[in-house]
């Protein structure tokens, strides 16, 4: 039944989600649970001079109030252990947890938080990247040198700099000295809130020395490890059980409320249920980081880029989180797609007294591609050549060598993408007319390579159970991708595939729903385990049907003896017979991508992603119209040509592209999260201004199928990339429409009017 591959099968969780049956994290309750609420720092920086919980504890129905004084003296973190469970002595960002109240009702817990007597003497605020880099800047973490590492990386930090990654091919200074001309630009981008619909939540119990954590989480094994660090226990002392996730987009990859709830559950011996209200979620969610990108290119007389120099500084906020790894991204995304000679790329993350930042779909890609594609338009304008033609003249081809010396064997797909978009939206006739413009942006995008394992089990009724800690954050990667791959491998209907929710006690390690890895990595593990399970089925069926295992065929939920149509039985008969004789039929497999070759001699830093794995190729085209009176930008047309590997579920692929592009339009045009003295200004969904149905076009998707040899049925990653090129394409289109540069996001009506005004004067 491999014909299920490439069909738009209904996702296996759709019915539960359409009827209200689906239990999300926030719908889960435990018997005897208490409700928690956090006291969070109201200021970005300061010293705690008074923290008296007596009045809160005295309230009837309050079962406990816990602070750093009650917590283990531990530090935790994804890469650097720079976090404590509660603020100890000082606070480093607005929203930092200071205490947890647990009470019989949520309302009571919230009220009791207000009864805690808290006094903070405000301290100096490192509010911006510039503040952090200033020579005499106060240090956000004065003791950073004494912090332990959680991952074996060289950070190359110091002062407020958390980490630095440097790529240097050599020859950059010589190339700039010999350049015919130099083009340079500065590009700045804001934070971006994931704005998943389900606020963070958890229910944690403490049983027999172990923590049982219910959480709608993207990366249960990472959560397990983080809570273990905070609580000072072994990772296997933690059990994480997943539930339906109401959106995540990278914001639920690290611990949220679980560590504080775990402490309270241990100290009260009652399950603790806690959830963020929307304001708390906005103030503390690890948003996409704000960034400043400086880019200069040395051009030859004929327009080749002899060398490029890039400096990208990102705001990690008060904790490093995943950002040291993100300093690797600039070297991939700011000097590729279009040929460059020499390159020197510095990626740097800095501490500030702001909420910690982290992963949001596409991580650093959206702002780096924005900077690169704006820069390419500026180079073309400087040379007086057509912007599309310049790109085609300098585009990567098959076998292109990136600055880290990674070879992109199939980079010629980029030209296929340009050709395909040209067929749909011819450059010569797009974006024409007063205050209309067109822009393009391209990308080379990785599929996260990290490992995952699965077990396939044939039930006595012939249905298949996939035991996995992989989770569906909404993308369909599990409920379409993995389910359809499993169905295809075993020759059964998709509705006969059951996929478990994550349970770190029961399922093998899985690296979570990040970087579009699930369909490719977990799908491959399913395909491999499926091969083994088929062999087991054939063995058992051969005995039952008195045939050779080599002659057994498996399809349509049954087994057949090749050439003998009468000899057949259902998979249920095989599964049942095996279960009660030789034992249940099950097979496990794991998979991780092979790391690509690169030259380690030209890069230094915390190398989480020194090369890009299982890449895909992308071209986006945006057409816009600008209202000269208001500055409002309308996206009139949006075209995507995307290398999708094999589209396991075409409707699912389309949904990921439409959804990713629309998030990108929000980032480009509406959603700038801004900071004032270290505090986030936008405090409601309305102020965040996400796109509505009336704001966005239907994306025209051209799916380019280029199956990958290692992918299950050729599948590669799909869902992350569509957000990445959007800001570049839209900014180029707006700049084209108004004849003035747009080098800052978001492109608000005010900024458009200002750009028009500046261009006139």
């Amino acid at each position: 039944m491999t014909d299920v591959i490439g069909t738009s099968a209904v996702r296996i969780d759709a019915r539960a989600k359409a009827t209200g049956d689906a239990i999300y994290g926030v719908d889960h309750n435990e018997v005897g649970q208490l409700h928690g609420a956090l006291l969070r720092s109201p200021v970005p920086s300061g010293t705690i001079t008074r923290l008296d919980t007596a009045a809160a504890l005295a309230i009837e129905g309050v079962e406990g109030v816990f602070t750093a004084a009650d917590a283990p003296d531990t530090r935790a973190g994804w890469i650097v252990k720079d976090q404590t469970l509660f603020a100890r002595g000082s606070v480093r960002y607005e929203g930092e947890p200071i205490a947890i109240v647990v009470a019989e009702t949520r309302k009571l817990a919230k009220q009791a938080v207000k009864a805690i007597d808290l006094e903070i003497t405000p301290g100096p605020v490192v509010a911006t990247i510039e503040d952090a880099m200033a020579e005499d800047a106060p240090l956000v973490h004065p003791d950073v040198a004494s912090y332990e590492m959680a991952a074996p990386f060289e950070l190359h930090g110091g002062g407020n700099v958390v980490a630095t990654t440097i790529l240097d091919t050599g020859g950059v200074d010589e190339a700039f000295a010999a350049a015919d001309r130099v083009v340079e630009g500065v590009y700045t981008t804001p934070r971006h809130y994931q704005a998943y619909m389900e606020p963070k939540n958890t229910v944690v119990s403490y049983e027999d020395g172990r923590f049982i954590i219910h959480s709608a989480h993207q990366f249960p094994f990472n959560l397990r490890d983080r809570v273990a660090q905070f609580m000072g226990v072994r990772p296997s002392d933690i059990r994480v059980i997943g539930h339906h996730i109401g959106g995540a987009f990278g914001g639920k990859l690290d611990a949220g409320l679980e560590p504080q709830a775990a402490l309270a559950a241990k100290l009260t011996r009652r399950p603790v249920n806690i959830r963020n209200d929307r304001l708390e979620d906005m103030l503390t969610c690890p948003m996409r980081e704000n960034a400043v990108i400086r880019m200069r290119s040395a051009l030859s007389a004929s327009g080749e880029v002899l060398a490029r120099e890039v400096e990208c500084t990102i705001d990690a906020g008060a904790h490093a989180g995943e950002t040291p790894g993100l300093t690797n991204v600039p070297m991939h995304m700011s000097a590729s797609v279009y040929k460059v000679g020499a390159a020197r790329v510095v990626g740097r993350a800095v501490y500030t007294n702001t909420a910690p930042t982290g992963a949001f779909r596409g991580v650093s890609g959206p702002y780096l591609i924005f900077a690169l594609e704006r820069h390419i338009d500026e180079i073309a304008d400087e040379l007086g050549v057509d912007r599309r033609q310049y790109r085609l003249d300098h585009l990567y081809e098959d076998g292109a060598v990136a600055p880290n010396e990674q070879v992109y064997d199939n980079a010629g797909i980029l030209r296929d993408a340009f050709d395909a978009v040209e067929q749909t939206a011819p450059w010569a006739s797009t974006g024409k007319g007063p205050l209309r413009g067109v822009g393009v942006a391209a990308a080379i995008w990785p599929t996260n390579p990290m490992a995952g394992g699965v077990t396939l089990r044939l039930n006595e009724d012939g249905r298949l159970t996939v035991v996995t800690a992989a989770n569906d954050n909404g993308s369909g990667a599990v409920t379409m991708g993995v389910a359809q791959i499993a169905a295809a491998q075993l020759g059964i209907d998709v509705s006969d595939v059951v996929v478990t929710m994550p349970d770190t006690d029961a399922a093998a390690f899985d690296a979570g729903s990040q970087g579009s890895r699930t369909t490719h990595i977990v799908g491959r593990a399913v395909a491999d385990a499926g091969e083994g399970l088929r062999a087991q089925i054939a063995q058992v069926a051969a005995g039952l049907l008195e045939a050779s295992p080599d002659d057994i065929e498996i399809d349509n939920g049954s087994v057949y003896v090749r050439g003998v149509p009468a000899k057949t039985m259902g998979l249920a008969d095989v599964g049942g017979a095996a279960t009660f004789s030789v034992g249940p039929l099950q097979e496990s497999a794991s998979y991780a991508s092979t790391p690509p070759q690169f030259n380690p001699g030209c890069v230094a830093g915390p190398l989480m992603f020194p090369a890009l794995t299982t890449v895909t190729y992308h071209l986006h085209l945006a057409e816009v119209e600008v209202d000269p009176g208001t500055g409002h930008v309308t996206v009139t047309r949006y075209v995507v040509a995307q290398d999708v590997g094999t589209a396991i579920n075409p409707a699912g692929v389309r949904g990921q592209v439409q959804g990713g592009v629309v998030q990108g339009l929000g980032y480009s045009l509406f959603e700038g999260i801004s900071l004032d003295g270290g505090r986030i200004r936008q405090r409601t969904f309305e102020q965040c201004r996400m796109p509505l149905a009336v704001d966005v076009p239907d994306v025209e998707l051209i799916a380019l199928e280029n199956p990958h040899a290692d992918g299950p049925f050729g599948a590669k990653g799909v869902a992350e990339a569509p957000i990445a090129p959007v800001a570049g394409a839209v900014a180029n289109a707006v700049a084209d429409a108004i004849g003035a540069p747009i080098n800052h996001l978001p492109i608000t009506p005010e900024s458009v009017l200002q750009a028009i005004q500046t261009a006139r004067t």
Binding site: R15, Y24, M197, G246, R278, V696, V699
Partner: protein
């Protein structure tokens, strides 16, 4: 205080506090957890239910104002195992991703279909301006709503 209302075809009488929202009562008292809270301040539409034929944000609707009302939640759309036409269309048009906004969208669009059985795309878009969806980018939701109105045909 006592609140009496008809929820999904059943008469219910519950004790409530004067400041309880309709959402609190539905989720915490009647255990109808299909209705979701995403913002708690009437900005996202995830908590939409139909009260006397009108879609409302139940998170900012005082429960006591629903006394005597007829309330429909997402749990009331299907007839046993038989999905409503709109629910079926959401499945068939891939209109669901994470699904957290889905109950609210279904209620808003059910109310639309009750008044306008064959809405076009523009009408659907306008109807759901109060419903935020962060996953889908709306296209497949809109197609589902139009398709349900045309009996599942081409949109």
């Amino acid at each position: 205080m006592k609140l009496e209302m008809n929820v999904n075809g059943t008469d219910r009488a519950v004790e409530i506090d004067a400041h309880d929202s309709l959402l609190d009562v539905l989720r915490d008292v009647l255990h109808l957890t299909g209705t979701k809270e995403a913002c708690g301040e009437g900005e996202c539409g995830a908590c939409t239910v139909i009260v006397d034929g009108v879609p409302v944000n139940s998170c900012i609707r005082a429960a006591m104002t629903a006394d005597g009302a007829t309330v429909t939640t997402v749990e009331g759309l299907a007839d046993g195992d038989e999905l409503s036409g709109l629910q079926r269309a959401f499945l068939d048009n891939a209109g669901i991703q994470c699904g957290f906004c889905t109950p609210g969208l279904l209620m808003t669009l059910t109310a639309l279909h009750d008044n306008e059985p064959h809405p076009d795309r523009e009408l659907v878009k306008k109807a759901i301006v109060g419903n935020l969806c962060r996953c889908t980018g709306y296209s497949q939701v809109i197609e589902a709503a139009v398709s349900a109105g045309t009996g599942g045909g081409e949109v």
